[in-house]
């Protein structure tokens, strides 16, 4: 594979700069560490985005009527509620949840052997909207008239804070990637400046024999870009491995078990090494030209 022009050493540029010591592994280590962190920030951001979408989808189109009534009134009021809902514009379907479904909902808190028949549990009626939406306040008033023990829960009080939390989490993930990129640029700029300062005499000699700034800068830019690329590739590989080894999401899993990449999402971290190389290229080039003007 042929390297991009700025990474090639067609003119022997590389050899004119002496091999540098600690700045070499410092750059690679920084790029690796930052790429590793960026993989997790990316995974967090994607997971938060998916979560926000999932919660919104799940809660946005559904509502629940909770009916608490004397035992002999339950069936009567349930029927009245279902009749009311059937004639309400904007509601696609409504159905009373079975005892098994209610037991399944409570199982995470009370276990699977809950004696649901002996408990005064409210009846739950699940409503699915048809997409056009319904008049929440009007429905509440009608339900109060038909079934005094019915309470309409349109999930707004759950949905809003969850959606806000998920979108903020996503924002934090993206902000982390921006900060990681900035920190990478800063670290590479410092390492490049140190390397340039340490080679001030070499640079002076090169200038005196007719080397242009671009020629001298290319030697440093090439080195730092390649080091950053290799470091970031290693960090990304380790980060992806770490994400892949996280426990799989299942029905009992919480948010953290959903942290990871899915399908084409696995391709996204692969953009981190070239992005890091690009950041290193820009940072080193800017630093090199600035330092060259100072030194000679």
């Amino acid at each position: 594979m042929k390297l991009p022009l700025f990474l090639r050493d067609d003119s022997g540029t590389d050899s004119v700069v002496p091999p540098s010591g600690h700045t070499a592994w410092l750059t690679s280590f920084t790029a690796a560490a930052m790429a590793f962190l960026a993989v997790f920030a990316l995974a967090l951001s994607l997971a938060a985005g998916n979560l926000a979408a999932r919660w919104s989808d799940a809660l946005d189109r559904t509502a629940t009527v909770r009916l608490s009534a004397p035992e002999d009134q339950i069936d009567l009021q349930t029927k009245a509620i279902l009749d009311t809902l059937a004639t309400t514009p904007g509601i696609a379907s409504a159905r009373a949840m079975t005892d098994e479904e209610q037991r399944a909902l409570l199982a995470p808190w009370f276990g699977p052997d809950l004696p649901i028949d002996s408990l005064p549990l409210p009846r739950l009626i699940e409503i699915t909207e048809d997409g056009t939406g319904y008049d929440t306040e009007g429905l509440r008033q009608r339900l109060a008239a038909e079934a005094p023990g019915a309470v309409l829960d349109d999930h707004t009080r759950w949905r809003r804070p969850l959606a806000v939390a998920a979108s903020r989490l996503r924002l934090l993930g993206l902000l982390s990637i921006v900060l990681i990129t900035g920190a990478t640029a800063a670290m590479i700029t410092l390492a490049a400046s140190a390397a340039l300062a340490a080679n001030a005499q070499v640079i002076r000699t090169l200038r005196l024999v007719g080397a242009r700034d671009a020629y001298i800068a290319r030697a440093f830019v090439r080195r730092f870009t390649l080091r950053a690329l290799v470091g970031a590739a290693i960090g990304t590989a380790l980060g992806m491995l770490g994400v892949a080894l996280l426990p799989a999401a299942d029905s009992a899993g919480g948010f953290l078990t959903g942290l990871g990449f899915h399908g084409a999402g696995w391709l996204l971290p692969l953009a981190l090494p070239p992005l890091t190389a690009l950041v290193a290229f820009a940072a080193t080039r800017a630093s090199a030209f600035r330092k060259l003007r100072e030194l000679t």
């Binding site: 050899s15 004119v16 070499v202 002076r204 000699t205 005196l208 007719g210 080397a211 242009r212 671009a214």
Partner: protein, 226 residues
């Protein structure tokens, strides 16, 4: 071309005061000049002005008919490829072997294919067996000869030498002088800063060299007393 290097009322000041003042001088193509004067008089500063390592603080200085202040950094680099300089402190890249140091001007100019005569050149300056030696292992005289080889490998129009025989014995000094006079006969402009009056006398017997003397911040034409 009227002149390769032209000073017109040039002055140069360090922070502490004026070192060179009201310098007006033209180095014509193919001329040979010596520059002499007491230590600290400004010979090295004058040479640095000649290859734009320093810029004048007053007056006008032209290199190859271009005002030096109007040159960009790239222009200065390209101009320096036409000027071979033998520095007093012989700066080399210590991690590269001598041969790579000598061909460095060709390398940075992207003309590495033109280094065919390297062995002849190294042999001529008496360094034929030291092509792979690293600069720190060379003696002062060897470094000076290597610096001369590096200065001329590009076939420059102008050769500036700052005390080029300071670390050489008389035999090698004469050899170097012969090389410089040969280059001058080939049309190169040569300017040598030196304390060595014997070298100047020897040169005047070979080429029509002019002698410049820096005294009291100004340059005067000398010669009759040498």
């Amino acid at each position: 071309m009227r002149s390769v290097i032209a000073f017109e009322n040039v002055a140069y000041s360090y922070g502490g005061g004026e070192l060179l003042s009201d310098i007006s001088l033209r180095l014509a193509p193919g001329s040979f000049h010596f520059l002499t004067g007491p230590s600290g008089a400004g010979k090295s500063t004058f040479l640095k002005l000649c290859y734009a390592e320093l810029l004048p603080t007053a007056g006008h200085l032209s290199l190859f008919d271009r005002e030096v202040r109007s040159l960009s950094r790239d222009d200065i680099a390209l101009t320096r490829r036409r000027i071979g300089v033998v520095h007093q402190d012989c700066q080399f890249l210590d991690h590269l072997p001598l041969a790579a140091n000598v061909t460095l001007p060709l390398t940075v100019a992207g003309r590495t294919g033109e280094a065919k005569d390297l062995n002849d050149l190294l042999g001529w300056v008496g360094l034929g067996a030291l092509g792979q030696a690293l600069p720190p292992s060379l003696s002062g005289g060897e470094r000076q000869r290597a610096a001369l080889a590096r200065a001329i490998i590009m076939g420059p129009d102008v050769i500036l030498a700052d005390e080029p025989t300071g670390n050489l014995d008389w035999e090698m000094s004469l050899r170097l002088l012969t090389l410089l006079t040969e280059l001058n006969r080939m049309g190169k402009t040569v300017l040598v800063a030196t304390h060595d009056l014997n070298l100047i006398r020897q040169a005047k017997s070979q080429v029509p060299a002019r002698v410049l003397r820096i005294a009291k911040r100004r340059i005067q034409l000398a010669g009759a007393d040498l």
